[in-house]
Symmetry: C2
Subunit: 212 residues, 2 copies
C-alpha cells in the first residue's frame, strides 16, 4: 500500500497528537516509542515524520501549547478588579475544572519537564511561572486589603498550586464525589488556610456583596 483511501493530513495530525498525549501521560515520554505511537494511529513508524520534526519537538509542542491555552483561558475568566476572596474562589474553581478537562496534558506538563532540552525547559518553566504569578497577585492583593493573613506569598502560591494540581493525579470521574463537591472542599481549604487563625483569636472580615 501507500496512501490510504480517505486520508487527510489535518486529521492524521490531530490523531497523532491525541495518541501521543495519551501514551505520554500513561507511560511517560521516554517510555513511549514512536513505533508504539504509530501503531496507535494506524501508521508506519516513518510516516510520523510527515507531522513531527523530532520526538523531542513533539513533547515541546504539546507542553507549550497546553501552558499557553491554560494562561489564556484563566485571563479570560478572571476579573482583576473584583474582591480578592472572590477572585481566589474563582481561581480554585477554574484551575480544578480546567485540569479535570485536560487531565492528561496536566500530568505531562508536570512530569515531563525534565525530558525537555534545557532551552525548551526554560521556556516552559517561564510559562508556568507566568501562570503562578496570577495566583500570587491575588494573594498579595488579599493581604494588602486585609482579607488574608500576611504570609510569604511565594510559598503560599506554591503550596496552593501543588494542592490544586495534585487533584489531577488522583481524581477519577467515577468517584463518589462530583467535581463540584471537590471544588467546594478545596475552596474551603484554601480560603480557610489563608484567613484562618489556628491559634485562638479570630479575625473575621465579612464578605461585602454577594454574587457567587
Amino acid at each position: 500500500m501507500a496512501r490510504t483511501r480517505g486520508s487527510v493530513g489535518a486529521e492524521t495530525e490531530k490523531a497523532i497528537r491525541k495518541a501521543a498525549v495519551e501514551l505520554i501521560a500513561k507511560h511517560g515520554f521516554e517510555a513511549m516509542t514512536l513505533r508504539d505511537l504509530a501503531e496507535h494511529v494506524g501508521l508506519q513508524p516513518g510516516s510520523i515524520y510527515r507531522y513531527i520534526a523530532t520526538k523531542d519537538q513533539l513533547l515541546v509542542d504539546i507542553m507549550a501549547e497546553h501552558m499557553e491555552t491554560l494562561i489564556a483561558a484563566w485571563r479570560a475568566a478572571d476579573r482583576p478588579d473584583a474582591d480578592p476572596r472572590l477572585r481566589l474562589e474563582g481561581f480554585v474553581d477554574f484551575h480544578i475544572r480546567y485540569h479535570f478537562q485536560r487531565q492528561k496534558e496536566v500530568v505531562i506538563a508536570n512530569l515531563e519537564l525534565r525530558s525537555l532540552t534545557p532551552d525548551a525547559r526554560r521556556a516552559c518553566v517561564a510559562l508556568r511561572k507566568t501562570y503562578e504569578s496570577e495566583l500570587r497577585g491575588i494573594l498579595e492583593a488579599g493581604i494588602v486589603q486585609g482579607f488574608f493573613t500576611p504570609t510569604d506569598s511565594g510559598i503560599a502560591t506554591n503550596a496552593i498550586i501543588s494542592m490544586l494540581t495534585g487533584v489531577c493525579f488522583w481524581y477519577s470521574p467515577k468517584g463518589k464525589l462530583s467535581a463540584d463537591d471537590i471544588i467546594a472542599i478545596h475552596k474551603r481549604l484554601v480560603l480557610g488556610g489563608l484567613s484562618g487563625t489556628p491559634r485562638g483569636e479570630a479575625k473575621i472580615i465579612p464578605l461585602a456583596a454577594g454574587r457567587n
Copy 2:
C-alpha cells in the same frame, strides 16, 4: 585491570544506590542508562550486575525501602493519643522535614510509579495508602472531636498530602526562607484550612494545654 585495589562490596553497593537515586531523580528512570550509572560509580556496565538483579528491580528496591522507612519514621514520631490538632501539626512538621532530607527519593517515589511492573506498583501504592491513612486518621479524629470542620476526609487527605509533598519539587536550601519558616507557613495553611470558616461566623475552639 580487574578487581580494583581496596574495593569492598558493601561500599560499592551503597555508591550504586546513591548514584542511582541521583540519576533517576534528575533524568527519570527510563532516561537513566546503566552505562551512565556505571560511569558515575566508576565501574564497567556489566559489573553493576553483581549488585542488582535487573534495572527494574533496582527501582523497586529504592522505592519500597523509601516508603517503608518513611512509614516507620512517622509511627515513631507520632503520639496517637494526643490532641488531633497537635498531631496534625506534628504530621506537617514531620512530613516536610523528612522530605527535605530525602528530596530525591521523594521525587522518585512520586514520579516513577508508572515505571514499575504492575505487581511492584500495586505494592508501592499500598504502602503509600498506608502512609496516607495515618493522616486520614488524624483528620477523622479531629472531626469527631469537633476541632475540624466536617469534610470528606479522603479528599482532604489527598489535598494536604499533595500540598506537603509538593514542597520537595520546588524547595531549595538556598532560598531565603529556612525549613522552619516553610513548615510554619504550611502548618497555618493546613490547620486554618480545616478549622477555617471562610464565610462569616467563626467557631474557635481554644487549644487546651501547651507543649510545642
